[in-house]
């Protein structure tokens, strides 16, 4: 099948490329855009490591073709914060040892960012339910749960 021209806004920048129709959004981001923070843990939509925001929605970029994101606004982990300017969610993960190897971490940070936007004052059950689509093998989720609670509380304190 012939390549297809796509234009996707990634972290606020327009990105144009000619891609095979079967190229996943994850591979487009990693290889065409050089944004390697989006990780592939299963490539079948279960682990959540490849989660990015597409027009604000948390989406598994391994299950979306780049051509399906034509015209969309995509935010990857690189668009959430920077090493010397962590977002509140990233800072909370650091403060509460919410990461170890860091492979699942970008997917968690993106998922939590979207989750807290939609659930600014979540209960523990809502946190557990909201993040049950992201797998972590290192932390036993203890630091992650603490980080999400803290990020929510911090946001409440700021806006409250």
């Amino acid at each position: 099948m012939a390549d297809v021209e796509v234009e996707i806004r990634v972290n606020g920048q327009p990105r144009r490329a000619s891609v095979e129709p079967r190229r996943t959004l994850a591979d487009f981001l990693r290889e065409q855009c050089g944004l390697t923070g989006t990780h592939l843990g299963c490539e079948h939509g279960v682990c959540g490591a490849c989660t990015v925001l597409v027009d604000g929605d948390a989406v598994r970029s391994c299950l979306v073709f780049a051509v399906q994101a034509e015209g969309a606004e995509v935010t990857t982990i690189e668009g959430i914060g920077a090493p010397d300017e962590l977002s509140p969610v990233q800072a909370a993960f650091r403060d509460h040892h919410g990461l170890q190897c860091g492979f699942c971490t970008p997917g968690f940070v993106v998922s939590v960012t979207a989750f807290l936007r939609d659930h600014p004052n979540p209960t523990d059950d809502e946190i557990r339910d909201g993040l049950s689509g992201n797998l972590c093998r290192c932390t036993g989720y203890q630091g992650i749960l603490a980080a999400v609670r803290a990020a929510a509380a911090g946001a409440q304190a700021t806006t409250g």
Binding site: C42, G81, L99, Q100, F103, S132, T139
Partner: protein, 778 residues
């Protein structure tokens, strides 16, 4: 309360505090460097053609159609790859063992579903995968040996020359022990306990990039042990070690799976010399669950004899493990640990053991976090079963048998020398955190209402920081650079276990400098000292030893320069907070930066007996054959006796890993291991069907715990210093060892009114309902 890393530097003392990790900023923002993030000029991509049969004769491999596909560079088979192997052995076992077969590509016969038969090289991974599907292999299916438990009686052999499919056997102690002790004992309890296959499953799959250029090999790897990758590459290719450079920055979890480079890794190294550019292979999840190895699949008949009062008289385990088709490394020796540690943290006057390793046509056995943990599973399940039969609370039975401080040092009846442990203390501490008596009351009240709660404990002792062979030493190089900033170089192999933060904390303390002035360089064999990486819960103690040894030399030199410049006696110089000062006159002093400037830029002003510059290399030798850690896990749960669903209510770990370098890191290791163990007890099963097909090769079928299933884990810390630098002990594996029996015992306790005995893992809703149906029917 999390202390800030960037606070005032006065009273700088970082070991023991919850400093922020130096790894976090890059990993949180997407700027980590994992092996799949590596790109090289003209880089090619590999994909393996794998056997769809558990056992089949390979009559031919046809690549014409694959080679015709645009973008395909090569298809290599066993005939191309296997003859290139000079020698293949792993440092942990050495070369003088009766190692099991391990061809890089299947040759003549495929021996499990997923066995690599050919490697396809193409310009992109998409094309490589397309081409792999076009490679035609003439298979003649053969009768497989699927179940290791019946492999001894199978008519077929997994490997010629291994009669009855036995890979090896070892035993220790009096084989007639139970027959001799049993008749005069008040109670003898014996059960055969079965554990299912479950696996490390790091979130990052395996991967490697190998680039052969100008007679040199450069490898980027996801690994726990970069120097072991270099060593094995050197042996396999017959290349001198100094022509090979292995680099790793971030590795997405290992848990044992990424210690020894496996067949595919070696195949990529060989193939890289046959193609014109760097060759990358990134495993997909299906391959990882199908071919990256199995673990935990074993069973054992555990027996104990007791006196009337519950005192243990003797213990015996007859153990058999599945080693699959291509175990790595040699699996027979490591299985001995199951027998040798079986007596655990108890007074056991007599013990014996036997272990048999059986081949099967399944994925090969590899290391996984506490590879010998079946000793704890078998012993702790058996103790609960025994307690119920003797009508003693399982807690009380253990209290009557734990080793006490007065017993130490203590030689297990199997010969293992125990010391610096605290079995009674961690046990009582964990029960106190639970309030065991209150739980028993709550349990009784719940039963009145038809709700079934249970409590289970699990206690173990664990040999960490082995001094065996090359594990017994670790080196460090420390450079105080001309501006006074510090770089510390250690072998590394960090896979989430925070070795960068650990090295930085320890170095800052050792040199009396601010933690933000210390950086670490790890995971590059070209620039770091040799070391065998992450494995056997060794990194904390060994890095502490390496940094301590090296920093001592540097401190002496810093003090000598300061004494000379300040015209003071060496004995009067104090080194702290990044300054050398004269005792009693704190205004007289020099910063480390000033001393470093002198050492490099003004060497002529140094006395002739002081070496210019401020860098040193040192190497630590382990002080003990191993450092024992111990813990008790306590789990409470509720079991729905209609649906079989288990809900964990509380989970407590009280552990003794000595003083903690960073409590966040220690608790993180415990939590991660514990949840892997909970997964093993309740959810995870690397299952095969009866025809030898893997049926859990996706995350839809292989069920790892999510945040929705895990309890909040509560911690207790008892600190008994171990025999080594700082008194530090290992803590990486313990959680995964202690958790499964605590969970199973809790479920069994909940179901005790029904007279159910649980001996098969995992405990799933279906298995609980089946057990209850069985007892109701009888």
């Amino acid at each position: 309360m999390v202390p800030q890393m960037t606070g005032p530097t006065s009273a700088a003392r970082y070991a023991g505090t919850r400093v922020h990790r130096v790894e976090d900023a890059r990993l949180l923002t997407g700027y980590g460097t994992f092996v799949d993030d590596i790109t090289r000029p003209g880089m090619l991509h590999a994909c393996f053609v794998r056997s769809p049969f558990p056992r089949a004769r390979i009559d031919g491999v046809h690549a014409t159609e694959a080679l015709a596909l645009d973008g395909v560079h090569a298809v290599f088979t066993a005939a191309d790859i296997n003859p290139e192997v000079h020698e293949l052995w792993y440092s942990i076992m050495g070369k003088d063992i009766p190692d099991t077969p391990r061809p890089l590509l299947a040759e003549g016969e495929a021996r499990f579903v997923g066995d690599p038969v050919a490697i396809v090289v193409a310009g992109s991974r998409y094309v490589a995968e397309d081409a792999a599907e076009l490679v035609e292999v003439d298979y003649e299916p053969l009768e497989p040996v699927v179940d290791y438990r019946s492999a001894r009686d199978a008519s077929e052999l997994v490997h010629e020359g291994y009669e009855k499919n036995v890979a090896g056997r070892l035993r220790g102690g009096n084989k007639d022990l139970m027959a001799e002790v049993g008749p005069s004992a008040a109670h003898v309890v014996s059960e055969t306990i079965h554990q299912q296959a479950y696996v490390a499953c790091p979130m990052e799959t395996r991967g490697i990039v190998a680039e052969w250029s100008g007679g040199e090999m450069t490898i980027w790897a996801g690994t726990q042990a970069p120097h072991e990758v270099r060593a094995v590459c050197s042996r396999v290719l017959g290349l001198p070690e100094h022509r090979i450079r292995v680099i790793m920055r971030d590795t997405g979890g290992g848990f044992g799976q990424k210690v020894a480079p496996l067949r595919e890794d070696l195949c990529v190294m060989v193939a890289a010399r046959k193609v014109p550019a760097a060759l990358k292979w990134i495993e997909d999840r299906r391959e990882n669950l199908m071919a990256a190895g199995q673990a935990r699949h074993e069973h054992g008949t555990a027996s104990m004899a007791f006196a009337e009062d519950g005192t243990i008289l003797a213990a015996n385990i007859v153990h058999t493990q599945d080693v699959g088709a291509y175990p790595t490394p040699w699996p027979v020796g490591t299985a001995a640990a199951v027998g040798m540690i079986f007596p655990g943290p108890y007074r056991v006057p007599q013990a014996a053991w036997a272990t048999t390793s059986m081949f099967s046509n399944t994925a090969g056995r590899i290391a996984y976090r506490g590879p010998w943990q079946f000793e704890t599973v078998a012993r702790e399940l058996l103790l609960d079963i025994a307690a119920r039969r003797m009508d003693i609370d399982p807690v009380e039975l253990r209290r009557r048998n734990f080793l006490a401080a007065d017993d130490l040092p203590y030689a297990m009846a199997t010969g293992m020398p125990l010391d610096h442990i605290s079995p009674r203390e961690v046990f009582e501490h964990a029960l106190e955190l639970l309030d065991h008596d209150a739980f028993r009351e709550e349990q009784a009240a719940a039963r009145e209402q038809g709700r079934y709660l249970g409590v289970g404990t699990s206690s173990y002792v664990e040999p960490t920081t082995s001094a065996m062979g090359a594990f017994g030493t670790e080196g460090a190089t420390i450079r105080v650079e001309p501006t006074g900033k510090v770089n510390v170089y250690v072998a590394g192999g960090s896979t989430g276990n925070s070795l960068e933060t650990t090295a930085v904390q320890l170095t800052a303390d050792a040199l009396g400098v601010a933690i933000e002035d210390v950086n670490t360089i790890q995971g590059d064999t070209a620039v770091t000292p040799f070391g065998l990486g992450t494995g056997g819960s060794r990194s904390g103690s060994m890095i502490a030893g390496a940094v301590g040894t090296t920093a001592r030399t540097l401190r002496e030199r810093i003090i000598a320069i300061a004494a000379h410049k300040l015209e003071a006696a060496v004995e009067d110089i104090e080194l702290a907070d990044g300054r050398a000062t004269v005792r009693g006159t704190p205004t007289a002093g020099l910063s480390i930066a000033e001393i470093a400037h002198t050492a490099y830029f003004d060497a002529a002003s140094l006395p002739p007996d002081i070496e210019p510059g401020l860098e040193a290399s040192g190497r630590y030798r382990a002080e003990a054959m191993s450092i024992w850690a111990n813990a008790t896990h306590v789990c409470t749960c509720e079991v729905d006796v209609t649906t079989g669903m288990v809900t964990i209510l509380r989970y407590i770990v009280s552990e003794d890993c000595g003083p903690m370098i960073n409590p966040n890191v220690v608790e993180g290791q415990i939590d991660g291991g514990t949840v892997q163990g909970i997964g093993g007890a309740l959810y995870e099963h690397l299952a095969y069907d009866e025809d030898g097909n893997p049926i859990a090769a996706t995350f839809v079928d292989y069920l790892m715990p999510t945040i929705a299933e895990v309890p909040v884990i509560e911690h207790g810390h008892i600190e008994t210093p171990g025999p080594g630098p700082g008194g530090y002990k290992g803590v990486g594996e313990g959680g995964a060892i202690g958790a499964p029996p605590a969970v199973i015992n809790a479920v069994a306790d909940a179901l005790s009114p029904f007279g159910v005995t649980i001996t098969d893992l995992p405990v799933t809703p279906a298995s609980i309902v089946a057990l209850l149906d069985e007892v109701r029917a009888s």
